[in-house]
Each structure stands twice: as C-alpha cells, then as structure tokens.
C-alpha cells in the first residue's frame, strides 16, 4: 500500500510534482501514466526516499520508506535500469544488495534464473543491453520478496517476448496480494497490464480510475451533443447501459447509444440539438488529449 498526500517536489524553479495525492492498493496492478516529464520518476524516487519531497508525504505500509527496518522486504524498486556499478558482474551486484539485509545467496541465484540472466550472470553489467539491464533491475527489485513493487518503465528496451513476460510477472505479483505500481508513457501497454490507472500530467493528478472506466469512456462510441435543453435530454436518455456526462455550458457526452437513435429521440420529443457528433477515440488518443490539456482538466473532473 502506497499513500501520497499533497506530494510536491520543486527543482529550482520547476515544480516537477504538484500537490499529488493518490493511493496504490494491494492485489492489483496500478498503472502510473503520464507523458515524459510528467513527474512519474520523481514521484517514484520520493516513494523510496531517494528524493525528499518539498512538501507533503508519501508512506509505504503506513510509514516512511526510510523508517523501514527491512526496506527491501517492504518495497522493491526498479528506477533507472543503470543503477548498477558498470564494472561489477550481475551476480555480484545482486549479492551486494542481498548482503545489506542478510538475504541468502540461493535467493540471488533464484532471481537470476527468474529473470533469465543465467548465461550472463558473471559478466560485467556495464556491457549489458538495455533489456538485460531491465531484467537485472527487476531481479534486484524482487530480491527481498517485497510486499510492494515499484517499477519505472520496466518494459523499456525489452523485446516482445520480454514485454509479455513482464506483463505476466506483474499480474502474478498482484495475484499474490502484493501492491504493484508500474509507470509507463504508453497507454496501450497499460490497458493490457493494469487494473487501475493513475494519470498525471505536469506533476498534477489528472485521473484516478479503473482501466475499465477509462476504456469505456475512451474507446467506446461517444456521441457529443450540444443542446440548450440538456436536462430534458438527459432525462429522455435514461436507460440501462447509457451514460451521460454533462459538461459546461451546454454539452453532453453520451455513451451507450448511437447518434441516429439520439437524433430520432430528440426529434420525437421536440428537443432542439445544436450539435450531434459521433466521436471515436482510441485509448491512445484519449490519453493524449487527457494529458495535453492537463491544466484544464485539473480539479478532479474525472477523478473517481
């Protein structure tokens, strides 16, 4: 369980994270989404105490990560793939980390096998490809059998087989009841992996909802209607499977009913329509729109 309360981080004049509050729950995969520079990495660095928040707090299992007596058992983190001394071998890198908290050597060998680095375990990590570095980082994150896993862009540099492996690994970890937080700037990847989404842009929270909700609002057929009689039309539209979202000053976003049916319904009841537009957005488009207009969307208009 990760809880952030009004988390902010300022680097010089740049506010990288701005009053961010969210909760990451155990048992599901939570996708942490945002465009490059949105503050995802900074937030994750604050979770494991590498950066100190300018204001606000972030707690893991109810306390600061630094106050944990067994930190590696509490949070396993993959932040940058190259958080490794380039001239140490992969196995020795893991052994060093394991030694700080007395993790057995057999566990190191197990993790090497799990991430598929057995053949290169005794080679210098500096010569690793991006994908191999990611696998080593994942092995390090899982070393302490952590109840919370925080992974920053874990599929970066992985081949399709590796991406599938990570996807299944994350689901497996969540299935064991762990808290799994994984960042990405790819909506499509998150749609396949995550159960819940936290979307940020320019350091601020844009959306905090289940992937299902997000998918429904984004990829199903949406009809955009403008009418001065929006209250009346909303009443008429009330039916199972139809969702209506009102937006100022006179717009309605309707899902679950086609534009033809809406137009005929309005005509039959004498409701004048100023606009009737079918909108079809892909997940990726919806995400881009959401994050591009992050400032306008602030205020929790889509927060659940």
């Amino acid at each position: 369980m990760i809880e952030a309360h009004s988390l902010s981080k300022r680097y010089g004049t740049k506010l990288a994270v701005d009053d961010l509050s969210f909760t990451v729950r155990p048992g599901i995969v939570t996708g942490f989404l945002g465009p490059n520079g949105a503050g995802k990495s900074t937030t994750m660095r604050m979770i494991i105490g590498l950066d100190a928040p300018t204001s606000g707090t972030v707690a893991v299992n109810g306390h600061r990560y630094a106050d944990s007596p067994a930190p590696m058992h509490e949070v396993g983190a993959l932040l940058e793939s190259k958080a490794v001394h380039s001239s140490r071998t992969a196995r020795n890198h893991l052994r060093v980390l394991a030694t700080t908290c007395g993790i057995a050597r057999s566990r190191v060998d197990e993790m090497i096998e799990l991430v598929g680095l057995t053949d290169v375990a005794d080679k210098r990590a500096g010569g690793f490809s991006l994908g191999m570095g990611q696998r080593l980082g994942i092995a390090a994150a899982l070393l302490g059998d952590p109840s919370t896993v925080v992974l920053d862009e874990p599929v970066n540099g992985l081949d399709p087989e590796g991406i599938l492996w990570v996807r299944n690994l994350l689901k497996g970890l969540a299935g064991e009841g762990r808290t799994v937080m994984v960042s990405s700037h790819l909506m499509s990847e998150m749609a396949m992996t995550a159960d819940h989404l936290i979307v940020i842009g320019r350091g601020r929270l844009i959306a905090d909802m289940s992937v299902e909700e997000f998918t429904q609002s984004a990829s199903s057929d949406v009809v955009w209607v403008r009418t001065p009689h929006h209250a009346r039309l909303t009443e008429l539209l009330a039916a199972p499977g139809v969702a209506v979202v009102f937006s100022e000053p006179d717009g309605l976003q309707i899902t679950g009913m086609g534009s033809d049916a809406i137009g005929e319904l309005a005509a039959a009841h004498g409701v004048a329509l100023h606009e009737l537009t079918p909108v079809r957005a892909s997940l990726e488009e919806a995400f881009m729109e959401l994050t591009q207009e992050s400032v306008e969307y602030h205020g929790g208009s889509v927060a659940s």
């Binding site: 660095r45 494991i48 105490g49 590498l50 950066d51 100190a52 990560y65 630094a66 944990s68 007596p69 067994a70 930190p71 590696m72 058992h73 949070v75 983190a77 932040l79 940058e80 190259k82 958080a83 490794v84 001394h85 380039s86 001239s87 140490r88 071998t89 020795n92 890198h93 052994r95 060093v96 980390l97 030694t99 700080t100 908290c101 007395g102 993790i103 057995a104 057999s106 566990r107 197990e110 096998e113 799990l114 991430v115 598929g116 680095l117 500096g126 390090a140 899982l142 302490g144 059998d145 590796g162 599938l164 492996w165 299944n168 690994l169 689901k171 497996g172 970890l173 299935g175 064991e176």
Partner: protein
Amino acid sequence: MSTSTSTSTTTSTTSTTITDAGIKVTQARVVKAEFLKVRTLRSTLYTLGIAVAAMSGIGILICWTTANDWNNMRPRRQLRFNPLEDSLVGFHLAQLAIGVFGVLLIAGEYSTGMIRSSLAAVPKRLPMLWAKVFVGAVVTFCVMLPSTLITFFVSQRLLSVRHIQVSWSTPNVPRTVIGVAMYLTVVVVLAIGLGALIRNVAGAIAALVGVLLVLPVIALALPQTWADRINKFLPSNAGQALLGFTGDSTQMTPWRGFALFCGYAIGAIAISAWLLRRRDA
C-alpha cells in the same frame, strides 16, 4: 512452486521463504556488503596494487642501488642519504593511489548510478557511509602496514651490506614505519569524505591532490613568517609530522600533527554525512 524458465513464469518469486525479521538492515550487514563491493571491483586490485608497488618498489630500489653504488658515491651524497626516510619515500606516490581507491569507493557509485541502488537498500544512508569509512580504513591499513614493514626490513637488509642500515630498535623508527600505514589510512578516510562531498570521481581526485600536494606548494609562495605559521597546519604537513622526516623545527610534534590530520578527515566525513542526509540522490 519454483519455476525455472524465464519467460513463462508468472510468479515463483516466493519460493525462498523470507521473513520480515530475517532481512533487517543492520550496520554489520552493511559493512559486509561494503567489503563485498570492494572485493568485487577490479579497480580495487589496480589502486591497491599500485599503492603497494609504489610503497615497496621505490624504497627497495633506492636502497638496492645505494648499497651497490655506495663506494662510488661522493661523501656529500653519502651524508645526505637517510636509510629510514629514503627506504619509505614511496609513500608519496602510494598516497595518491590510496586516495584514488578511497574516492572510487563512493564517488564511483555516483558516476555509475550504483548509489541509487545502495541508498534504496540502505535508506537511512548513514550506515552506508560509516561502513565505507570502516572498510576503506581497514583494507588500507591491512594492506599498507605489511607493505611498509616489508619495505623497511628488506631495505635495511640490503643496506646492511654497507653497514648503513637503521635497526627497528632505534628510537622513533617503529613510530615512523607504522606511522606511514597510519598516515595512508587517514588519507583514505579523507578521500572518502571528499568523494562523498563532490560526488564525482575526477573532481574528488583533483580536490584530494590539491589538498595533499598543491596546498603545501602554494604555501611556499608565502612570506617566510607567514609560511612558518601556516605550513605546519596544512593537512599533509600535519599528518606527516608523525613520520618525523624532515627534521624541520617548524613542524608540529608527531602526535599533535597526526591528531590534526585526523581532525581534517573527520571533519570531511562529518560534512559529507550531514549532506548525505539532506541531498537528493
């Protein structure tokens, strides 16, 4: 439920039972981890190898050629020869190699990104710094003391052919010989302090060379009265007072000078500890 293949596993992360109590971070474990770090880097072998080669090689070579050449040497050169000082002269070069070793212990982690893994594993941070100081000091002393002793005894053995050796029982000789290893041990602590402050390998090495070698040279440019007052307090001059080499009357007394040198190193560690707690990694 351990699964062995890499790509098809969905779980298997729990095949080794790990209990909360079993994997606490303790100072002893962090020290062990730092020892392992030192052992698993090739730069350790290079830097300590150079330090030993410089320490032993230079002194033994000088004493060997001196012993061979003694009868051909002019009296003035014979007079200038100091069997103790000249046999240990390699420490000047050794201190640079030891300094690089110390800087790499911590600044090497910042250059490679390893520091983020280290601090995520030891989020209280200070235990890592204490462990580095302890490991750096112990390794340096355990390597350089035998190296210095061997240098001394081999050199004196070579010189004994011409009966120009000094013996271990001569006053102040044990203090000087063991003092070289102690001086180098404090150098490594100072280097760790500067490495942790500057967080960049090249910058920290430059700073260390500046403090140990350049400051005394700059001080030479001062007017005599000023120089006499300031020189002896410079880190390397204070530290080398323990060796009692130059016989310069302006030097501090051996133990006072060494205590001041330790004070500089402790000061550097204290500042870097304070900053380590405060700075983002």
